[in-house]
Amino acid sequence: MSDVREGLATLGPGMVRLRDRLENRWLAWAADCGAAPMLFPPLMKVEDLERFDYFRNFPHLPLLVSHLRPERLADVAKSGLPAGEAETNDLTPAGWALPSAACYNIYLHLAGADLDAARYVTTVATCFRNEERYDGLQRLHGFTMREIVCIGTRDEVQDHLRAFKTKVTAFGERLGLGLTVAAGSDPFYQPQSGRAVLQQLFPQKEELLYEGTLAIASLNFHRNFFGERCRIRAADGQPAFSGCVAFGIERWLHALLARHGSPEAAIEAIPE
């Protein structure tokens, strides 16, 4: 069904069919709220992520992309990389990063826009995170994230998140997943930091948990952070608010397989 090695998953045909069935459901929801489907490049510029304080907030997570220095090409062409890895001295400075979340590109795409109404966008991306440990389909080095994003006024974004909380919770109920909702606990934050206190006092993230521990979806209220950083203005002329519902696709596969026993049985359980 699936083969996971060192945090990297290979999905067999049954799992791909199950994944397609889930994606159809989420794309139907995206269409219902008028979300435009978009796909973004598979690499992001380090300087773009820097606009979001990404490296300061999550220095341990990024996977940076480089290539061999021109002066090393002849040697490598002759001998390959027999040690199984490239030495840092062989590499150019890394100006690119692999995405760690699907939605960053949406705000960059809308940078400088004056919106006359709320904008809804859905996208999917293979995301990469350098974790301390990996665990089957539950915690992967590279995984797939579907997001449905609203950029607009505070009320529009909060309505979006509220509507999706209801939809996803009911969907999970129908699939027998028994999801519970919990305030996001972000392990990246230092426990004593102001950020951790603020997260506790003014929750920005809610997670939908399978068996009380595995977050298979999350609802994220970014306030006007991306609107400010990307100079996106909402219809009221103020920096736009944004929020997203995010689905960790491989985690859904894990939960559905655990609950239903096989991809085929799980597919049966998901309405067309």
């Binding site: 997260q199 006092l201 306030r223 006007n224 952070f225």
Partner: protein
Amino acid sequence: MTPEIADVKRWLLERKPEIGDLDPDFDLIDNRVIDSLSFLDFVFFLEELTGRELQATAETVHHFRTLRAIEGNILHV
């Protein structure tokens, strides 16, 4: 406007001058006038202003949300 609330407003606008002005009911949290990094500084500032220790908990957090709430719940208690 009392001198204390004028001090609070000045403190906030020094850190976020692009806002221009602050309506008494403007949500300081959702609009990120106070963000995650400045929140504790803001509480310390209010403690110095009032001469009391302030508790920022889930129950009292709404006291910090707007200038009006700060005036009613923190400055004039």
